[in-house]
Symmetry: C2
DNA sequence: ATGAAAGCGCTAACAG
DNA sequence: CTGTTAGCGCTTTCAT
């Protein structure tokens, strides 16, 4: 095939290669003839062979947890991040290799590089567990380029792109305080996710700044699922009735929505008796009643940034800069956080 | 590397290859030595080189529309389908190559095969447009294995996996009729999607079976977005007030939810003055007020089935059976379709 | 059962 | 500028 193109154009196969992969210098006239011949014979070089010869897969790996039916992560989150990664990878000529990780499967990320399936990888939904740390350490040691998304590992300077969750919590608290709330509750997610800790940190800091005291009884725990939020409704309702809290910040929208439903069933009016703020500003917050105030996180941009920075490293070969990007978040006010009655109380 | 393994095991490189890729017959003792040597040297064969030698990419391509901010498709839909495909591909030793298609980019699917990036591909979110038909015809003509998901092309016998949307509509109508509804409205999506037509067909058929007449004024059109459902609220409200309809079936959940919100704003009580049924049973229908009756579509299973059947063809080389699978759907009853008042009226 | 050697389709020196 | 040639790391006849 390639040979026939060479013949038709009256050149050697090497020249065909040079023309079609933009490499070496070729006379314009020659290039034109080759291009024509290729067109005529409907020939395109095999990416597989090219990549083999170059010893580069041309693939950007994206590792994500297999989303089971009841997933802790929202489909919104993954769709946005993935779209951002995909768009960027495409622009830079990389293909996306999707790697689903079953929950309890060994995390042998390094093998993806050894087998030359990928040239770099982005890890989404990583957790701070021993096995994860081990897998990442192996990547680091092998000098395999990788990047974490929305996860930080204390004590390790891994490449990462994250949202400024801490400031998000601070904004949320300030907003509530400006609404007159003084007894703010925080419904957090599991500590395996650094975001959980970041959000809590922001919450505490903002309380302090506002001269409010931090009370352990005002910190609740869920697992980021809607159900876990729903299950906390009883506890929250009790606190509300006893006048011990006048607002809740949930660490993600799913829990906030579960909580909202639970409170509704218990006769507590969100947005009146109590203010509620979610986090992520996912597509569902506009569909609840009342609409949910939430912290918008630029997931799409996070994906773009992660892919972009990582591919810089993958391609630059040399001056590979490590990075730890933090993108700003933004509080989107809606009806759930007005808490008019609470203010008056 | 491979050479060192061969040395360490005291065999030739060919034997190393035979052992590590399970090919030819090797004495057990020899195999053990090779495996040990490989382990010791931390050697794994390069998938890139293997695939090149075998002239197979080992990749299953998944083509999906780039999800823009305001997407017609729900993230739920893609997540489920993709997870199903991913799980199945993984089980069968294939990697997933994700291919985002920008809306107005030329659809050169065949090139993915020519460049040997993929061995087969699944097309998600295809539309019945001339350019799409052209791209698919080229695939067909090149004997490139592919499979459509949730889309049918009239007059072409392409491999496909779909839900039985028609029966879904029939079930929905029957359910409404059993609730006492007799003036059922249908909010459909664009005709580029064969599912739209299928659902409408079922609607008409069920009306006929129930002895109800089909009225054009009872067929509304949206574009599957929440907004398009929202925008139809005024028209629907008017019909309700004039007593000309007592139920609405929306062709997907997003439109149903938009409609629900719009009706709520107009003071129409869904589940009382009018019954409402959505389609897809996506994760959001449990979060609305009232919860939405919806037609559950097994998206995950659709993904599994598509990947499984397609890979059968990709691997079998010979007795490649064409297929057109239709998976059953199931009506999930919730509060939005009780329409008690309408029944009495 | 194993080794030797050819070749997959392309890139990349190296000559000319 | 262009042709020649030697690999890239693996699979696979073909011998032995």
């Amino acid at each position: 095939m390639r040979k026939k193109v060479a013949e038709l154009a009256g050149v050697s196969e090497a020249t065909v290669s040079r023309v079609l992969s933009g490499g070496g210098a070729v006379k314009e006239e020659t290039a034109r003839r080759v291009l024509e011949a290729a067109q005529q014979l409907n020939y395109v070089p095999s990416a597989l062979a090219q990549r083999f010869a170059l010893r580069k897969s041309g693939n950007l790996g994206v590792i994500l947890p297999m989303l089971p039916k009841v997933n802790l992560f929202s489909t919104y989150y993954f769709s946005e991040v993935l779209s951002g990664i995909g768009m960027t990878a495409k622009q830079r000529g990389y293909d996306l290799l999707l790697l689903f990780r079953e929950p309890h499967e060994p995390r042998d990320y390094a093998n993806l590089f050894r087998t030359q399936k990928i040239d770099g990888c982005i890890i989404v939904g990583a957790q701070d567990t021993p096995s994860e740390r081990e897998a990442l350490a192996e990547l680091k040691q092998g000098h395999y380029p990788f990047c974490l998304v929305n996860q930080r590992f204390e004590g390790e300077a891994y490449n990462s792109v994250d949202a400024d969750q801490r400031t998000g919590s601070i904004d949320a608290v300030r907003h509530l305080v400006s609404q007159g709330c003084t007894r703010i509750c925080f419904l957090n997610g599991p500590s395996e996710y650094s975001n959980s800790e970041d959000r809590l940190l922001g919450y505490r800091q903002a309380l302090e700044e506002a001269g409010l005291s931090f009370l352990p009884e005002r910190v609740l725990l869920g697992n980021y699922s809607r159900k876990s939020g729903y299950l906390q409704a009883k506890a929250v309702a009790a606190l509300v009735r006893e006048g011990r809290i006048d607002a809740v910040i949930a660490a993600n929208d799913r829990m906030a929505i579960g909580l909202l439903q639970g409170l509704k069933e218990l006769g507590i009016r969100v947005g009146e008796e109590i203010a509620l703020i979610g986090c992520d500003d996912s597509d569902i917050v506009r569909m609840t009643d009342p609409p949910l105030t939430s912290i918008r996180v630029p997931f799409f941009e996070i994906g773009c940034e992660a892919a972009s920075k990582l591919l810089d490293i993958v391609t630059n070969t040399e001056d590979a800069e490590a990075f730890a990007v933090k993108l700003p978040v933004k509080l989107i006010e809606r009806a759930s956080s007005s808490a008019e009655d609470a203010k008056k109380a």
